[in-house]
């Protein structure tokens, strides 16, 4: 099992093309931890903004009457992938992992697989 900072560091170093990663509480929009990012990618802003993305999707599914869970949300930019993975553990309800990737360097299938594994090891 890995704590938050260790898990985020692992995501940043093992996932090819990582630009930044954050663990976010979407009941408050605040990040529990961030690794990477910088001037070009403010992870605090990303945490708050992507909280709105997650909430919008959750609400839309309720309105559609879809009784299902969200595993992840992929946003494809011209030069980046943004991957949002909702945590499913008993103690990590209401949290998501946010990962920004350089499109040229990243392997999306591999990144999703690795992020799933990091979620499995994460103890909040």
């Amino acid at each position: 099992m890995a704590n938050t900072q260790t898990a985020l560091k692992e995501a940043m170093t093992t996932i090819e093309g990582s630009l930044g990663v954050a663990l976010v509480d979407y009941s408050s929009g605040m990040a529990l931890g961030t690794v990477g990012g910088g001037k070009e990618l403010d992870l605090t802003v990303a945490a708050a903004g992507n909280t709105d993305v997650v909430r919008a999707k959750v609400r839309t599914m309720e309105q559609l009457g879809l009784k299902d869970g969200i595993e992840d949300i992929l946003i494809t930019l011209d030069s980046q992938y943004h991957l949002i993975r909702l945590l499913k553990g008993r103690d990590s309800q209401g949290l998501f992992l946010y990962l920004a990737l350089d499109k040229n360097r990243a392997n999306l299938a591999m990144a999703r697989h690795q992020l799933r594994k990091i979620e499995g090891d994460l103890e909040v």
Binding site: M30, G49, T51, D52
Partner: protein, 131 residues
Amino acid sequence: MAAEPDVLEELRRLRARVADVTGALAATSDGLVLAHDTATIEPEGVAALTAAALGVSQSLADATSRGAFRELLVRGQNGYVATYAAGPQAVLTVLAGQRTNIGRLHMEARRSGARIADLVGGALARAEHHA
């Protein structure tokens, strides 16, 4: 004060930008209302309480060497009330529901606080110039 319409405009902008914000008011550090955009609360009372909370917060920050007051967040069962510094003479107090995005509120309210500080500072400088 001449800055009042501009401050009110800033409060409205803040309310429009953050979902579930139910009211905002700007006050001087000593508890006088500068502008308010609130429907459900009585602004004078909240401004006076904000000044009192500001005093205690600043003492607490001083006693623990945290420096000048920046912000204060109170979470009640039905939502949040947050106060942000807006320069040395003014503060911004925001009311929000329990579902609000606090990360976004912090981001937007800090920005609004800085803008209100400029507006109030500019108005005071002009007033002193004319006096």
